[in-house]
Symmetry: C2
Subunit: 286 residues, 2 copies
């Protein structure tokens, strides 16, 4: 149970967290903080927030838990503004999609509060964004990964674990490096592929007509290309090395397909598609 929770950056992720915790009676008061007052007011109207402040240091004052739900590129300055206002015992966590850059920002800004900082990442989302996009069941049966450091306070880890469990999430712990590698493969690379496909097709001269013939598969495939561009810009910059190496490997995979087509090699194509189908079908059961 959390008496006072402050969420900095009240978009899809932050508002869904607030709604889930309120629905479970796991939080008494939720304070929001952000740059756009209209959006925070909307949060109060929607029952996501109890109150709000536009000043980070004011918003975190007296909070038991602070959740940073701003884009990765805004973490450093937000943490710096926050540090002065934090109580000694306030637990801080974040929801960033890459963790190495966040830990670096925290070490550079949080000072003695660093041991109460628990880096986190709920593996959930939709292509929609903003406070109106939030819903209480977003985290139900989804994973949340925590990547505590060796010196992270175990009680702070417990507080953050219990908070995410209250939303219905399955909480796991792993190293920062492992998290960033796994997420580059399962989320960051697929998003780059979808953005690139839409971008490629939109450059073809007959674009409108081309999109008119897009069937269900194409629509599913490119749905994630409607995701927030600021968030994805920041993820690319924060997890660039892992992503670059995956893109290079992926291009080799495409070369393998192209070569089989050029060689007119039915067996190579069949095996590639059969194995991928088999792997994808196993994923259904996970």
């Amino acid at each position: 149970m959390i008496e006072h929770l402050t969420i900095i950056g009240v978009g899809l992720i932050g508002s869904s967290l607030a709604l889930a915790l309120k629905q479970q009676g796991f939080v008494k008061r939720v304070t929001g903080c952000g740059r756009t007052e209209a959006s925070l007011q909307k949060g109060v109207e929607l029952g996501v927030l109890d109150d709000y402040s536009l000043a980070v240091s004011e918003a975190v004052a007296g909070a038991d838990v602070v959740v940073l739900a701003v884009p990765l590129g805004a973490m450093h300055s937000t943490m710096r503004q926050m540090a002065a206002g934090l109580d000694a015992n306030t637990v801080v966590t974040d929801v960033g999609s890459a963790k190495a850059s966040v830990v670096e920002d925290a070490r550079a800004t949080l000072g003695e509060h660093m041991t109460n900082f628990v880096p986190g990442h709920p593996i959930a989302g939709t292509e929609r964004s903003g406070v109106e996009a939030g819903f209480a069941t977003l985290y139900q049966d989804r994973k949340t990964i925590l990547t505590p450091e060796a010196d992270t306070n175990p009680q702070a880890i417990d507080v953050v674990t219990q908070m995410w469990q209250a939303t219905g999430a399955d909480v796991e712990t792993m190293s920062v490096e492992h998290h960033d590698h796994v997420l580059a493969a399962t989320s960051h690379l697929p998003h780059m592929l979808a953005f690139s496909l839409v971008s490629h097709l939109s450059k073809m001269s007959d674009q409108d007509e081309i999109f008119g013939y897009a069937a269900g598969g194409f629509r599913d495939f490119t749905r994630i290309a409607a995701s927030d561009p600021v968030m994805w810009r920041d993820i690319c910059l924060a997890n660039g090395d892992a992503l670059l190496s995956l893109i290079e490997g992926y291009k080799l995979e495409l070369d393998h397909v192209s070569q089989a087509i050029r060689d007119n090699n039915p067996d190579a194509l069949y095996e590639l598609f059969r194995d991928a189908k088999h792997t994808r079908e196993q994923l259904r059961n996970l």
Copy 2:
């Protein structure tokens, strides 16, 4: 209204067509033909077929309309077996995902029946296959493209158009070349990207763990990688040139992303993602 329809290859596409036409009272008798008797028997049990034959020339005898729903690689031999059994007035159509190769096969095998052959392609499907996967609403509000030749009998085009309209499809006509170009972009390329992604990730040593963290976006993105490998092998071989050139263009798009990451260029990344999001959102309204 069709008195006697023969469907050669009773999988997802063929059985959905039969179910839709029966539901609309647009067909009296549906004869199935295929290589696997158990599957044809299943078709009779499910009410998809009225009867069946394992011999192509027998199955098409007396049919008013014959629909070829076999993989592209089986078109040539199926058409050759069929040619002898066709009545002079039987209208023939197909559902192949690439059209140049089918027209070539038809010109090589159908002889004087060529003018009654209307190449067609319903832009619909799921990643499932087989007669059990069929459902009557598959074509509802979807496009079916016909690519008749200059010498195609207009009455044959009318028969095929009315058949697809009876399933709820929106029927359009275009040239073979244009069809193959548009489909390479909106369907064949995305499928290659999805197969390649699954293949790439499955080669990473920690594959099982990686797939365990795959969220909704990844699942949607790779759903189409569970599609029929025989069908996709044949599409690659039949529409290889268009596909090769799209894959090359797509790799340049990925290079553009990689370069922006390497240059640590937030503006280039933001613009790319913003434009793709904008394009993808327009697609929602189509």
